[in-house]
Every structure is written in structure tokens, then in C-alpha cells.
């Protein structure tokens, strides 16, 4: 429907594929959220129920990135202008990639520039805390060596992974049947407590971690959602200590390594 409004349906054929949008990092706030004189839907709305991929995250303007906070939280992009007050749906899965520092060789002392690691701190500080707080899974991906590239392919291919993902999703579909919630990511408040309360040792771990890691209230609930999803992947009924621990491990603490 949003694609239709943006005039992006070629030959009147609808698609069943989820949208995938990867705007360039020069994108403005209006391009991401929507707006302009004509108040068109932005990238975050065009990626509704799909993936919004932001490559080179710190290169985006600070204003553009922080404007993503509200859509990520509510699943709606609200555009208020003098001549228009519009709401577009914007429930996206945000995937972002970035280099650790400007030269990109933080890992490798031989290659790193003279300003490491201070340069990395500055570079990573371009991302605001509240935005990072909305990112559930962070991961360091070390550089791939030439030897790795010639290694045999991994044992598990994407098709096998897709099957397990589908299984976990069907568990979630069954769980939220009859409500407006589709996945764990949308579960909130009471419903989240109901489905994602960990067992005793898990709760104990989470309480201690929340203090030690200075988790925000948002972060705390996001950990619960991730832990519930991990439990779904294991086809486990309850959320166990291991699931909570793994969810905590994907939370970003301090940024500079």
C-alpha cells in the first residue's frame, strides 16, 4: 500500500516479498521519515514489515539518525508540517553496519592509523545513546582473512537456517493468535511479562545484570524479548537462564574496544 502511494508498483503487480531498503548515508531526515512539500512516505515507511539497512551508520547525519528513534519505538512515522499532519506505518527491522573507526583498521595494530584508539571513540560517539539503546543485537565481525575465503563453506546453509527461523516464527504466530501482535518484537507490557518471564535463576541473572550493566527500562524489556526469541529457536516453553545470558551478551556495553 505504501509502495502504491509512492508510485513504486511496476505494471500493477503486487509483490509478496518483504521490502528491503538500503538508503545511501547522505539521506536527509525527510528522506528517511517522510515529508517534504508533498509529504511522501520515507525510507522507514517504505521498509514497513521489512528490512531497513543502514550501511556506514555513523556517516548518516545525526539529525537523520535520531529521527529514527520514534518510529523504531512506536512502529509509526508521524510527519507534522504546516500543511500536512500525516502518519505512515513504519514497523521495520533495522539492520546497520559500521566500521569501528575512520581508518577501519582498529583490529590490526600494523594497519591502524596513529590516532587509534582515540579516533574510534570519536567516530563511534556519533551514534547517540538512545539510538543504540534501541538496537538489540550487536556483533563485532572481525576482518576476513584470505585463508578464510578459501576455506570450505560452512556446514549450515541459508536454507537450513531459514527453516529453523520459520519454525520459531510459527511458534510465535501460534502464541499471539487472535491478537494484533505478530512477533515477540511487538509484545509489550503485560503480554510480554506473561510470555517472557524467565525461570528463577534467569530472573536472578537478569536482575543482577541490569544493575551491573546499567540497563534502561527499555533495555530490560528488549532483553526479555530477545530471550523469548532465543527460547523459541530452541523450541523451549519457558525462558531459561541460558537464553537470558545469551540475550545479555548481544547488548552493547561500552563502545570502544
Amino acid at each position: 500500500m505504501i509502495a502504491s502511494l509512492a508510485g513504486q508498483i511496476p505494471d500493477g503487480r503486487l509483490t509478496r516479498a518483504r521490502p528491503y531498503r538500503a538508503p545511501h548515508h547522505s539521506a536527509s531526515m525527510a528522506a528517511l521519515i517522510g515529508g517534504g512539500l508533498r509529504a511522501k512516505p520515507g525510507e522507514v515507511s517504505l521498509a514497513h514489515l521489512g528490512v531497513l539497512f543502514l550501511d556506514e551508520l555513523p556517516e548518516f547525519s545525526r539529525q537523520a539518525l535520531d529521527s529514527l528513534r520514534q518510529p523504531l519505538e512506536t512502529g509509526q512515522a508521524v510527519v507534522a508540517r504546516a500543511n500536512a499532519h500525516l502518519t505512515y506505518p513504519a514497523r521495520v527491522q533495522l539492520v546497520a553496519a559500521m566500521n569501528p573507526c575512520r581508518c577501519g583498521h582498529m583490529d590490526d595494530a600494523a594497519m591502524a592509523c596513529a590516532r587509534a584508539p582515540k579516533c574510534a571513540g570519536e567516530y563511534q560517539a556519533r551514534l547517540s545513546g538512545p539510538l543504540l539503546d534501541r538496537i538489540d543485537l550487536t556483533l563485532d565481525v572481525p576482518a576476513v582473512s584470505a585463508a578464510d575465503l578459501s576455506a570450505p563453506p560452512p556446514r549450515e546453509d541459508s536454507a537450513a537456517v531459514a527453516e529453523r527461523v520459520a519454525a520459531a516464527r510459527s511458534i510465535q504466530r501460534e502464541r499471539y493468535r487472535g491478537s494484533s501482535i505478530r512477533t515477540n518484537a511487538e509484545a509489550d507490557g503485560e503480554r510480554l511479562d506473561q510470555v517472557a518471564t524467565p525461570d528463577d535463576s534467569g530472573r536472578d541473572l537478569l536482575t543482577r545484570a541490569a544493575e551491573a550493566m546499567h540497563l534502561t527500562a527499555r533495555g530490560y524489556h528488549r532483553i526479555l524479548r530477545v530471550a523469548r526469541t532465543l527460547a523459541d529457536l530452541d523450541a523451549s516453553d519457558g525462558v531459561r537462564r541460558g537464553h537470558v545470558a545469551e540475550a545479555l551478551s548481544y547488548r552493547r556495553l561500552a563502545f570502544v574496544r
Binding site: 502504491s4 509478496r16 527491522q93 582473512s145 585463508a147
Partner: protein, 241 residues
């Protein structure tokens, strides 16, 4: 006499009904559009004049006033060409007066009378279906409009002339078929690829992300039988939150 044709205006993904009213009055020959029309809408006068000329009709030498009601709602976009032309044809008694009653019309006119694609056909068609009206749209977008519900009430015409012939009963338009793009994720198994070797350091979080948010779960059967219904459900405004 005032001839009317229904069309829509978009505010975000909200669809607002717009009534196009055409009056032929006595006075100096003129053709004007009122009702907060922006530049693209105001220019539709020339396209309508050209399209009527292309099918051998001249504008009547009278004072032609086109009103887009409600008059305080800003109208933008090129999809007002077709409803203005249709209402004008009805006012000129080329079309029967009640022919346009059960329809919502959208489309851009070429100077040769061809209908070109416009944005927002799908929400407009859903709106029309909700109001128990049919949809008149350009031929290339018939497949999109047909998803809204009853495809037999969608008139997808390649030209203005084809539409006139349809209403006169000389050459009836065929209802379009709901169409879908070829890249159906459940059929496109070729998309599942093995990751490049050595890059296997990050699969698990990627997988969790897939599970906890918006990736499609492959259906067990192909879209031909099952997914049409689910597609239709997922595009309906009530189903997104």
C-alpha cells in the same frame, strides 16, 4: 446542469473522497478549475483539452467550471485528469448522466487520450470497495486495483475512448486479473544461498533478528493457492498496526 464524478485525495495513507463537479454555464467561453488545486491539477485542463481533441471532441464554447469538493482540502497529483475528463464528458452528454455514479476514477491523461499510471491506486481501490463502488483506473494498473476486492467492478482502460465505448456498451472492457510480481519468496528457493565461506562468524544473531521481527515465514504451499488470501489480508488497512 452539474455532472459529478468521484475521485480521492491522499493524506498520508488516508484516503479522502473528492467530488469532481463540472458545470457548463452561459457566459464567456472559459475553462477553470477551483478547489485548492496545485500546479499539476491546474495543468490538467490542458491535458483534458488535448485528450478530448484526440478523440474528435471539442470543448463546448461555454463557461466550464470544475470544482473539486471539499474545497478546503489541498489536492495534488496528476490523477485528477481522468475524473475531470469523465465529468466533463457527462456534462456534455457524451456519457449517460448516471454512468459514473458507482465508480471512483483515477488516472493521468496523455494528449492523445491514453491513460497513464498514477500513484495510490491500491488504497483508492480499497476505499472504493469499502464504499461499495467500482474503480476506474489506467489499464496498466488494473492488476493492482483488482487486489482490493471485486475485480469485476474494476474498469482498467487503456484510453479515454475505450472507457467511453464501455459506457456506451459498444465494446465492453474485460475485468483485470489480480497480478503479483514474479519474485514470490516461497517459490524463489534460489534466493536461499550458502553464505560465503569464512564469513560464518555472525549467523546466530542474524537468525534471532529474523525470528523476532519482520521476515516472512515461508508457506508450505505456493502462493497460487494459499497466499492470495493472505496477501489480500495483509494489504488491508486494518491488518497493520
Amino acid at each position: 446542469m452539474v455532472a459529478r464524478c468521484r475521485t480521492v485525495a491522499f493524506q498520508g495513507i488516508e484516503v479522502m473522497p473528492v467530488d469532481v463537479q463540472v458545470q457548463l454555464a452561459n457566459g464567456l467561453p472559459a475553462f477553470q478549475v477551483v478547489g485548492l488545486a496545485d500546479k499539476a491539477v491546474a495543468e490538467s485542463r490542458e491535458r483534458v483539452r488535448g485528450a478530448l481533441g484526440a478523440i474528435g471532441l471539442a470543448l463546448p464554447p461555454r463557461r466550464i467550471t470544475v470544482n473539486l469538493a471539499p474545497a478546503d482540502l489541498p489536492k495534488e497529483g496528476s490523477h485528477y485528469d481522468l475524473p475531470i475528463a469523465l465529468a466533463l464528458l457527462a456534462a456534455m452528454s457524451v456519457l449517460p448522466g448516471d454512468a459514473l455514479d458507482g465508480y471512483v476514477a483515477l488516472g493521468e491523461l496523455g494528449l492523445d487520450g491514453a491513460l497513464g499510471p498514477v500513484s495510490g491506486i491500491l488504497p483508492a481501490a480499497l476505499h472504493a470497495h469499502g464504499e461499495d463502488r467500482g474503480t476506474i483506473c489506467p489499464h496498466v494498473q488494473g492488476g493492482e486495483a483488482a487486489w482490493a476486492g471485486d475485480a469485476t467492478r474494476v474498469l482498467a482502460a487503456p484510453t479515454l475512448l475505450a472507457l467511453i465505448n464501455h459506457f456506451k456498451g459498444t465494446q465492453v472492457l474485460l475485468p483485470p486479473r489480480a497480478r503479483i510480481a514474479a519474485t514470490c519468496p516461497t517459490c524463489a528457493t534460489s534466493r536461499a544461498r550458502t553464505a560465503p565461506s569464512g564469513r560464518s562468524k555472525s549467523p546466530r544473531p542474524a537468525r534471532i533478528t529474523c525470528c523476532s521481527s519482520a521476515r516472512p515465514a515461508p508457506a508450505s504451499r505456493c502462493w497460487r493457492s494459499v497466499c492470495r488470501a493472505s496477501c489480500r489480508r495483509s494489504i488491508h488497512p486494518k491488518s497493520w498496526k
